[in-house]
Symmetry: C2
Subunit: 188 residues, 2 copies
DNA sequence: CTTGACTGTGAACGCTCGTTCACATATACT
DNA sequence: AGTATATGTGAACGAGCGTTCACAGTCAAG
C-alpha cells in the first residue's frame, strides 16, 4: 500500500544517511502540506517502520540498514520475499563487536589455506593481547608478523599454519599476539 | 588533542545512529555554553571530521561508519594506527551494490569446498537472472536450489561443484539462475 | 442523495535549533 | 606586569522544526 512512500524514505536515508525533515518529505512524497506528511509518518510509526526519539526526531528502524536473511541455500528463494523473511541483519553489527578495536587486513599468502582463508581474502580482526588455543591470530613472532592458528599447551605457546607445506612456528625470542581474527570476508 | 571529544561524538553517533544537537553536545562534552560547542564543531569541520548539509545539520563523515584498513597481514600493526591509516572502509558499502536486491544465505553442505566456501558460511547474493561463465550462482535446477559454479560454453549451460566428490549438474528440464554470489562471510 | 471516514491543503503556533553577540577566565609570549 | 590568543560562559536572536488547528475534496456504504 504505502510501499512506494517507504521506498522513497529508505532511498533518502541511504543517500543522505539521515531521516528527512517534514518539509523535505513534502517534496519527497509530492505533498503540498506538512499535515499530509504528519499523518503518513504516524502510519509509519504504527507499522514500526520508524520511531521518534525524545526530541520528536525520526529514527530509522534497523531494517533501514539491514539486508534480508533467507535461511539456507537449499531452501532457495521464496516467491514473495517479504512474507518469508526469517530475519534481517546489518552486516556491520553482525561482525563487529568492539568498534574501536576492529581492523581490516588483506591476507597475503596461502599459509591458512586449509582453514579456507586464501590469498587476497580480507580478515576482520580485533586487537587483543590474549587468545585461546585454536583461535586464528595475528602475531608478532621474533619480529615478523603473520597470521596462524594459535596453540597453547600448558605454558608452551606456538603457531600452526593451516597448510601442510608449512611447519609450526616456535618462537625463538618471543611471540606476541596482536589481534584475533573474528571474520573472513571474500568479495567476488 | 581533541580525540577525546571526537571519541565521545562517535560514541553518541554509534549509539543513537544520528548526530547530536548542540544542546546534547553540551552535556556530552561537559560544556555549559552552546558557544563552546559551536567553536568545537567549527574545528571538527576544518579537520573534515564532520560537515554540514544545506540545513546546517551536522553530517557524519564516512569514517564514523568505517573501520580502518591496515594493508597486508605481513606488514602487521603500525605502532600508531592513526598515522599509518591507508584507508577506511564501510563493510556494508564495500560489499553491497544493489541494496534492494541483496540477500544473505547460509551455506549448507560442502559442494563448494574447493572454492573455500564451507558448510555454515554466509554468502551475500544479488538477485539476477543472468550470470557469466565461472561465476558462483544460486540456481534452480529442475526444481532444486543449489549453489555452484555456473558454466556456459556456446549455448550449453550447466553447473559445476567445487568438490571432486560431486559431479557436474546438467539440467534435465531447466536451469534458472536466481542469484549470483557476491561475497562470502565467515564469522568465528 | 446523504453520511461518514479518509486524505490532502493551508495557516498558525510554540519550541528548540544553530548562530552570534558581549564578556570572563586561563595560558603563553614579550 | 602587560598584552594577545585561546577557551569558556551566558544571553539574545531569527529561522525552521514538528505539531495542530479548521476546512475542502474524494470515495464507499447505506
Amino acid at each position: 500500500m504505502y510501499n512506494n512512500y517507504k521506498d522513497k524514505l529508505i532511498g533518502f536515508y541511504n543517500k543522505d544517511r539521515r531521516m528527512p525533515t517534514y518539509t523535505e518529505m513534502m517534496s519527497l512524497f509530492g505533498f503540498k502540506s506538512k499535515n499530509a506528511v504528519s499523518r503518513l509518518v504516524d502510519k509509519f510509526i504504527e507499522e514500526g517502520i520508524v520511531s521518534k526519539d525524545h526530541l520528536g526526531r525520526l529514527v530509522a528502524d534497523v531494517s533501514f540498514n539491514s539486508i534480508p536473511m533467507l535461511g539456507y541455500v537449499k531452501a532457495g528463494f521464496p516467491t514473495d520475499v517479504a512474507e518469508e523473511l526469517s530475519d534481517t541483519i546489518n552486516i556491520d553489527d553482525y561482525l563487529i563487536n568492539k568498534k574501536g578495536d576492529s581492523y581490516m587486513l588483506t591476507v597475503d599468502g596461502d599459509s591458512m589455506i586449509d582453514a579456507h582463508i586464501t590469498d587476497g581474502d580480507m580478515v576482520l580482526v580485533e586487537k587483543t593481547n590474549t587468545a585461546k588455543d585454536g583461535q586464528i591470530v595475528i602475531a608478532d613472532v621474533d619480529g615478523e608478523f603473520t597470521m596462524k592458528y594459535f596453540r597453547k599447551k600448558g605454558d608452551k605457546i606456538w603457531l600452526e599454519p593451516a597448510n601442510k607445506d608449512f611447519k609450526p612456528i616456535h618462537p625463538k625470542m618471543y611471540l606476541n599476539i596482536t589481534a584475533v581474527v573474528k571474520a573472513v570476508i571474500r568479495k567476488y
